[in-house]
Symmetry: C2
Subunit: 285 residues, 2 copies
Amino acid sequence: MAKSATTSTAYTDALRAGEGFDLAALDPRSTPGFDGDKAAGEAALAGLGKRLAELQERLYAESRGGGTRSVLLLIQGMDTSGKGGIMRHVVGAFDPQGVEITSFKAPTDEEKKHPFLWRIRKALPVPGDIGVFDRSHYEDVLIVRVHDLVPPSQWSRRYAQINDFEATVAESGTTIIKVMLHISSDEQKERLAERLERPDKHWKFNPGDLDERAHWADYQEAYQAAIEKCSTEVAPWFVVPADRKWYARLAVTNLVLEHLEALDPQWPQADFDVEAEKRRLSLMP
Amino acid sequence: MAKSATTSTAYTDALRAGEGFDLAALDPRSTPGFDGDKAAGEAALAGLGKRLAELQERLYAESRGGGTRSVLLLIQGMDTSGKGGIMRHVVGAFDPQGVEITSFKAPTDEEKKHPFLWRIRKALPVPGDIGVFDRSHYEDVLIVRVHDLVPPSQWSRRYAQINDFEATVAESGTTIIKVMLHISSDEQKERLAERLERPDKHWKFNPGDLDERAHWADYQEAYQAAIEKCSTEVAPWFVVPADRKWYARLAVTNLVLEHLEALDPQWPQADFDVEAEKRRLSLMP
C-alpha cells in the first residue's frame, strides 16, 4: 500500500548520528528540524496526537491479526536530561494499553549473575507494543566504563555484543529508536540546583548525583564512544539536543511518528463472515 | 496534615453499591453526581488533570521515601462497555511511570494449574503505583458462573475467598477501587453493530461476542451476585452507568481523584543535608 502523503523523515534525518558524529560539536540548545519558538513547538506537538494515536492503534490491531512488528524506544541521557519528562509527556500521550515502560536501575543480585543483556531480552516489546526503555544496556558501556565496574577488556567487547544483539532484535520485527537526550553541563547544574531549592523535588535528588556530575567529561567520552560504535544501519542513534525541554519532547514524538509512518501498519482483515455476523446480531433481542 | 479544602466524596458516595443494591434498577444512561451535559462533562474532565497529576506524583514520591501505599483500580463490564476507552482516556491521563495495566484474558495452561487468585496476586501494584486491572478475579465468578466452567460448589465458595483476599490486600496498604461499567443491552447491540460496520473496528470483534450476548440475563445476574456479596467496607463496588461514554470517563476519573485525595500522600523529607549539597553543587564547575 502506498505511504501516506504526509510521511516525513525530517527529524530522523536531522538527528541521526552518522559517520564522523561529534557529540561535543552539537549545541544542546539547538532545535534541528524545527525553526519555531517554544509556543510554536508546543502547538506543533499538540497537533501530532491524533495521527500518532491512529498509527499506534493500527500497530496494535495488526498484531491481533497475526502481525509480529513492534517498536522499541530507548532513552538515555545524563541525570536531569529529561528522561522522566519524556516518559510523562511523550510516552504518556500513547495509549497505555500498547505501551510497556521498563526502567533499568543498578542491576540486582540476580541480574548480576547473568550476562548483561539477559534482563534486556526479558523486557523486549511483544508484537504490537511500543516498548520503552528508561536507561538500557548502554549503561553497561557508560557508568560501567566510567567507573570500570568490570575490567576494560570486558566492557570494550560489549559494543560488538550490543550490535549483534540489536541486529537480532531488528531482524525479529522490532523497530529500534535509540535516543540520547543531550544537555549541557550548565543546564544540569541549574536543574540540580532547582531540585535542591524545591522541597517537592528533594525526593528526586541523591547526593550521588553530584559524585556522578564530577565525572561529566568521562561520561561525554563514554557517550561519544557508544554512539560512534553502535549507531548502525539497523539501529542508529538519534542525539536530541535537550536543554530546551519543549524541543526534546517535540523531537522524540516526531521520531516515533516518522518511524510508525514508515512501518505503515494496516488494519487486519476480518477472519469471520461480516455479513453473517450482522444478520445474527440483527436477529438478537 | 489537614485534608485539602477541595476534598470531595461526591462520586464515591453516589456510585457506591451499598446495602440492597439492585443493578436492574440503575439506569445506564443516568449521570449520578453530575448534572451537566456532554460538553460540560468533557470540560469538567479536562479540569481534573492538574490535580490528579500532582496527587499521583505525591503517591509515587511518598513510596520513594519508604511509603508503602498504592492504588488498585479494577475495571469490569460487559463486552463493549468501554473498558478500553477507560484505559485510553482515564488511565492514559496518568503519568505512565507510575501505572501498570494488567489485562486478564482466559487463563493460560500454566495459570489453570494454580488457584484462581494466583495470577492476581502477581499483578498487584507495588508501593507508589496505580495498578489497573482490565478484567480481574471477578471473571472467576462471572463467565465461570454463567458457563459453569467449574462446578457450582466451587465458584460459590469464591465470593468469600475474594473478600478475604481483598481484605488482605487493603490491609497491606492498597486502596482498592472496583468499578463495574454498566451498559444496557440496547447500547451493546449498537456498539457491536458499529464494530461490524467499520472495517477499522473489525479486529475488535469476535463471533464469540454474540454467543456471550445471548447470555445477557445470566451475566446481569452474575454481576448482581458479585456486587451484592463482594461490596465490602474495605473494598466496595462502584457501579458506573456507562451508556454515555463521556460520563463513565468523568466518573471513574473522579473516583480515583477522590480516593487519592483521601490518601493525601505527602512529599517525603530529604534524607540528606540540603544546605551542604547546595554548597557542594555551587563549588562545581
